[in-house]
Symmetry: C2
């Protein structure tokens, strides 16, 4: 695991031409994914989410239906955008870190958000559609569960044998704190994305004091 | 709120004939609900959950289709049984209690479980069907969310203004700890239902120490 972390760090810091072209391709892909998501959100807000189809999203985004399915499996996924995900290899430093767990978790979630490139307008548009589409909540939760599971496994390795339950509870607490912090950021123009990790850390410390 | 708590306590301790007949009717209703649930679970395990219909559950339980719908809105609900719920009036003591929060939460969730009358066999049967039926997970989560929301509101009242976020995080932590503890109890024949609240309390204290 340590070897893979080192490889991962090397990969992150590599500045070769190959790496840059991959990054460019990734950025283009991210931009198209975001354009399709914005089209899906605009249509949902104007027509009502149930009336939106994958075909109408493709027309609105100016792409072919086939291209749509290269990016998202269905309209729900398009509305929510590419889910945040945790690269467990790159996150493996948390297993051996000796910093306070709440700080490490805030840092880990913060680096995940950086990759995802949060957009306040998109988060607000999703919040407007949210209540009328419970299926979106299910998909959102599944992606949060996957993150919690990935963090839980890393924490299990950090805490050692016999502490699987606490590892998962801490991971679930961390993802709830993340959701809260992102909603707080979406609602408050004066908050920066960089303020999200410290808020997560404060909330976890506060919960810790309350239940200890 | 204090007046309602007192009324609630009086109601709980009232030993009049009316109260006893209501209890008898409630118990009969609970028993029929459980019989229907067992029929739904037996069928799901023998035929596979997707093949089960509300009609086949009614036949298996020896009731009319109409009676089925007096108890459950659909087969998903029948498989999961009546969801646990929190009577916020009867739980209002937690607002003013000065005991440690983790102890109060464990007591509150314990009293909710007592009303629900957990059945180890049923929990195990649900766990066997669970993975092949993601829709069950969604319904189960919605009922857990409702409990978390009810607890969150009570904790908001206890913690005072400006602490809504922490109140909800603690409530979510408590319901995750409840799910964990019930699963641990279902897997371990030597655990009694009475052992669940202390396990919830220990888990919350442990999480507190980890994130403080």
């Amino acid at each position: 695991m340590i070897l893979r972390s080192v490889q991962c760090l090397l990969l992150l810091h590599e500045e070769g031409a190959r790496e840059m072209s991959i990054n460019l391709r990734d950025r283009r892909r991210q931009q198209t994914a975001k354009d399709i998501q914005l089209a899906a959100l605009r249509l949902s807000l104007s027509l009502g989410y149930p009336a939106v189809t994958t075909d109408s999203i493709a027309v609105e985004a100016g792409i072919s239906p086939r291209t749509f399915f290269n990016y998202y499996p269905n309209k729900q996924a398009a509305v929510l955008g590419e889910p945040p995900s945790l690269d467990c290899d790159c996150a493996a430093w948390i297993v051996t870190s000796t910093a306070p767990l709440r700080s490490d978790l805030a840092r880990l979630l913060g680096s995940m958000l950086e990759q995802k490139q949060l957009d306040r307008q998109i988060v607000r548009m999703i919040e407007q559609i949210w209540d009328s589409a419970p299926e979106l909540m299910t998909i959102f939760r599944n992606s949060m569960d996957n993150i919690a599971l990935a963090i839980g496994r890393l924490l299990e390795a950090r805490l050692g044998p016999g502490r699987q339950q606490e590892a998962m509870l801490v991971a679930e607490l961390a993802t709830h704190a993340l959701s809260n912090a992102v909603r707080a950021w979406a609602a408050d123009e004066t908050m920066r994305v960089a303020d999200i990790p410290p808020l997560i850390e404060r909330q976890m410390a506060e919960v810790g004091r309350l239940v200890i």
